[in-house]
């Protein structure tokens, strides 16, 4: 074992004691590997922004219960009808399978893949576990989604050592406690860190010292930059700009004329390795919504009304959990021909009650009049959010039917308490209890809009 490895292991042990971790045996393999440092030098401590991304998260979680499938092509998704791939093992990705691809298409590419159904509850549990490990290293954790986060370890350096040491520590701890692997990108800014983790995958770590940022960045194609989609890339390539380095060398004026003021300035900054964003531990949510794509397009209005109630319930639960209330209720409908409409209504007072949200969304639906197409997707979203206790409640002179009787507040609050103890599946609205097996996919929570 080299001197560097000795030091690394020693720091890890010290850190675990400092953080009060349970002394579970740590698998040596992952943590003992020498970190890859871009440019071939040593980790100089300048790459304090970590981007940690779980490797094939959903698939890896499922494989914990299917050890016989380890090393095989496995796809997580709903096998029938409109199912899409939510995750796939690297063995399946090698065949071109990726997330959001229809399962049917994935099976054409990789016919021998095993398709397993997803279990969102399980992923959430593992995600919570992983985020807890991240937060034991530093409080400056910004979860980006269920399976990735930014960690600012500038302050944790003194206690836990170099960023690469901390990265190795987290990787080892995640594997020891969950059996899952993750990849770490360490850099001086967020977006370089995210690019680095992508290049460290799977089960690896890549450190990009601040001094190496431009050397790492400039040879990359411009499409690797955040905010460069197909059309921007096309527009820039007509100027002869193909790599990030060429973009950085282009005068800002030229760029602004080509792609506009805001994105020109932003691209120029990114291409020069500048990204001033810091870790935001709590994002301020602007809206909360749920939507569902039906397995088969729906014409039955009663079914849509029921679905609106169910979605409203889910939205209200999330609002209450976040301590928020919203003043605007928006309804989204996508029809068979993929045309999409949204309608919204602003309420007299912010609400976090499913009954009120459901009433508003059903009224919006009714106001559409007769719908001559089948409905493919339906969504309910609450916008104009305020912190629930923050608004001064202006009592009204009289109670009218537009305000739900206070009994609903008690009922929904009680349902929250029961759910906290026994889970959400136990207690349901009578109208949402289904005879027989479930015939529809679960609604997917929409990410809060930043």
């Amino acid at each position: 074992m080299s001197v560097a490895q000795h030091r690394l292991e020693g720091m890890a042990e010290g850190a675990k004691r400092a953080a009060g971790w349970a002394s579970k045996p740590v698998r040596q393999a992952a943590s003992a590997a020498r970190p890859r440092v871009f440019g071939g030098g040593e980790d100089d401590g300048s790459a304090t922004m970590l981007h940690i991304d779980m490797d094939a998260f959903f698939a890896s979680v499922e494989l914990l219960e299917h050890p016989e499938l380890v090393g095989k092509a496995v796809i997580i998704g709903h096998a029938g009808g409109r199912g899409v791939v939510t995750s796939a093992t690297y063995e399946a990705r090698r065949f071109g399978v990726h997330s959001a691809m229809p399962v049917a298409r994935a099976l054409q590419l990789c016919p021998h893949a095993v398709v397993l159904p997803g279990h969102m509850e399980k992923y959430k549990r593992f995600s919570g576990e992983v985020m807890r490990i991240f937060r034991s290293v530093t409080p400056l954790v910004e979860p980006l989604s269920i399976d990735e986060a930014f960690l600012d370890v500038a302050g944790a350096k003194r206690l836990l050592g170099l960023p690469s040491t901390i990265g190795a520590l987290v990787r080892a701890q995640v594997e020891a406690e969950t059996g899952l692997t993750c990849s770490v990108g360490a850099a001086s800014t967020k977006f370089i860190a995210k690019m680095a983790s992508g290049r460290a995958k799977p089960d690896g770590m890549l450190v990009i010292p601040a001094a190496e940022t431009l050397a790492f960045l400039h040879p990359l194609p411009i499409s690797a930059l955040w905010g460069v989609g197909a059309s921007t890339a096309e527009s820039l390539s007509r100027l002869g700009i193909k790599t990030v380095g060429e973009l950085a060398a282009t005068p800002l004026d030229t760029l602004i004329r080509r792609v506009g003021e805001a994105s020109g300035a932003k691209l120029h900054a990114l291409a020069s390795g500048l990204d001033p964003r810091s870790v935001v531990t709590e994002r301020v949510e602007k809206s909360i919504g749920h939507e569902i794509t039906f397995e088969f397009d729906v014409a039955d209005e009663q079914k849509i009304r029921l679905e609106l109630l169910r979605l409203s319930d889910q939205v209200a639960v999330r609002l209450r959990r976040a301590g928020l209330a919203g003043k605007t209720v928006a309804l989204k409908l996508r029809f068979t021909d993929f045309s999409t409409i949204t309608r919204s209504r602003t309420l007299a007072e912010p609400t976090d009650l499913a009954q009120t949200i459901s009433d508003a969304s059903r009224e919006l639906f009714a106001a559409l009049g007769p719908v001559d197409q089948r409905v493919r997707l339906i969504g309910v979203r609450v916008e104009n959010l305020v912190t629930a206790g923050d608004t001064v409640h202006q009592p009204s002179l009289w109670d009218d039917e537009s305000a739900p009787p206070s009994g609903w507040r008690d009922a929904e609050a009680t349902a929250d308490l029961i759910a906290a103890k026994f889970g959400r599946t136990l207690l349901k609205r009578a109208s949402l209890v289904q005879p027989g097996p479930r015939d529809r996919p679960a609604a997917t929570p929409q990410p809060p809009t930043p």
């Binding site: 209504r345 602003t346 309420l347 007299a348 608004t391 001064v392 409640h393 202006q394 009592p395 009204s396 002179l397 009289w398 009218d400 537009s402």
Partner: protein, 381 residues
């Protein structure tokens, strides 16, 4: 079609005709103003199936005819025309408007597709324009502006015997004013009509100086509408369907506990102190024998307080009011002094409403019967 009209008369008529048109109409032709020229002058009309406006003016008509032209555009043009007679004629498929050396060519919209305006010939009664206009301004301020409950976006007009009362509410306050109603030759002595507050406010502004307004409430083809006529101008509006909440019963019979304050002083102080308040927050008013103290609290960054004279009858009282709601009431009493009365309640979660009425002097209650009832907030400490 070909006519010549006085510039100011024409411009005023066009402005009136387009004033009640919504910013966006459901059908493009509804954004037009219909101009009909005949032997005795011009008729200008607009109609969006909810509200119609129509006016007659005199003009030298050389060639009668009927055209439809973009209302807002014509109104903008008419307001800017130089001070010279307006000449208006059709040429091929266009409309030409000239005044002095200015010349405009406008699109002739398809007049055949324009709907016919509701015709109201009956009369339910007469109103004094000035009183009606003042009453609308005093009451409509309390009407709801959100569309959650359409019935309260209207002003309820209630006719009984020889009076007309106007009522509006947004759940948090109720404003009521009663004025004289002359049923004239009609046999109508009780009727109600729920008129959109926005439309009624425009009507109040338009007819404010018209002397006497003729009012008709009719029901034809299941469409209930109200018509106002004065000065060769007619406005009709569909009524809002539904039952207006019986808010008049919320007003207390008598109140023993009240304060009398100089209206302007209270308005000034309220505006000043609420500068530090966060949006939607309430002001705290403490009434004692020494006067009233206004305090803005609740925001950590800034606080403010001010005391002004008040003549208190009854016990010391503390209320928490939204400044804008109070200011709306104070601005509507139209009197030098104002009486703020405190009602009692048994409900611990809802303070008793506050009643605002006019006061012609420190000791003398106002002669009008304007009443503004306001629901205070819960006291937070």
């Amino acid at each position: 079609m070909k006519f010549q009209a006085n510039r100011d008369v024409f411009s005023e008529a066009v402005s009136f005709a387009v004033k009640l048109l919504p910013q966006r109409t459901t059908l493009p032709i509804l954004s037009g103003v219909l101009i009909e020229a005949s032997g005795d002058g011009l008729t200008l009309s607009s109609f969006d199936y909810e509200v119609s406006s129509q006016t007659q003016i005199t003009a030298d008509v050389e060639e009668p005819g009927r055209v439809l032209v973009s209302g807002r555009l014509l109104s903008d043009i008419a307001n800017r025309l130089p001070n010279a007679p307006v000449r208006f004629y059709t040429e091929d498929h266009h409309i030409i408007v000239t005044a002095g050396s200015a010349k405009f060519t406008l699109l002739n919209m398809p007049v055949e597709e324009y709907p016919s305006l509701p015709v109201v010939n009956e009369q339910s009664g007469l109103l004094k324009a000035e009183d009606f206009s003042t009453a609308i301004a005093q009451v409509a301020v309390a009407a709801s502006r959100d569309d959650v409950t359409p019935v309260i976006t209207g002003v309820q007009l209630e006719i009984s015997n020889n009076s007309l009362s106007l009522v509006a509410t947004d759940r948090y306050r109720v404003a009521v004013r009663t004025i004289e109603w002359d049923s004239g030759t009609s046999s109508i002595d009780t009727a109600t009509a729920l008129v959109p507050a926005k439309t009624l406010q425009e009507i109040g502004k338009t007819f404010g100086n018209s002397g006497t307004i003729s009012v008709a409430i009719t029901n034809t083809d299941e469409r209930e509408l109200i018509a106002f006529k004065a000065d060769r101008k007619t406005v009709t509006s569909l009524l809002i369907k539904g039952n207006f909440p019986p808010v008049k019963r919320l007003f207390p019979e008598t109140v023993d506990n009240y304060a009398v304050i100089n209206t302007a002083d209270l308005i000034e102080a309220t505006r000043r102190v609420s500068l530090v308040l966060e949006r939607e927050a309430a002001l705290r008013f403490t009434f004692t024998i020494d006067g009233v103290t206004l305090e803005a609290i609740g925001s950590e960054q800034a606080q403010a307080s001010e005391s002004i004279d008040a003549l208190l009858t009854g016990t010391d009282t503390v209320v928490s009011l939204k400044p804008q709601f109070l200011l709306d009431g104070l601005g509507a009493v139209h009197s030098e002094y104002v009486r703020i009365s405190f009602t009692k309640t048994d409900n611990p979660n809802k303070p008793g409403p506050v009643l605002i009425t006019s006061q012609s002097s420190k000791d003398q209650a106002g002669s009008d019967d304007y009443k503004y009832l306001l629901q205070p907030n819960l006291l937070l400490r």
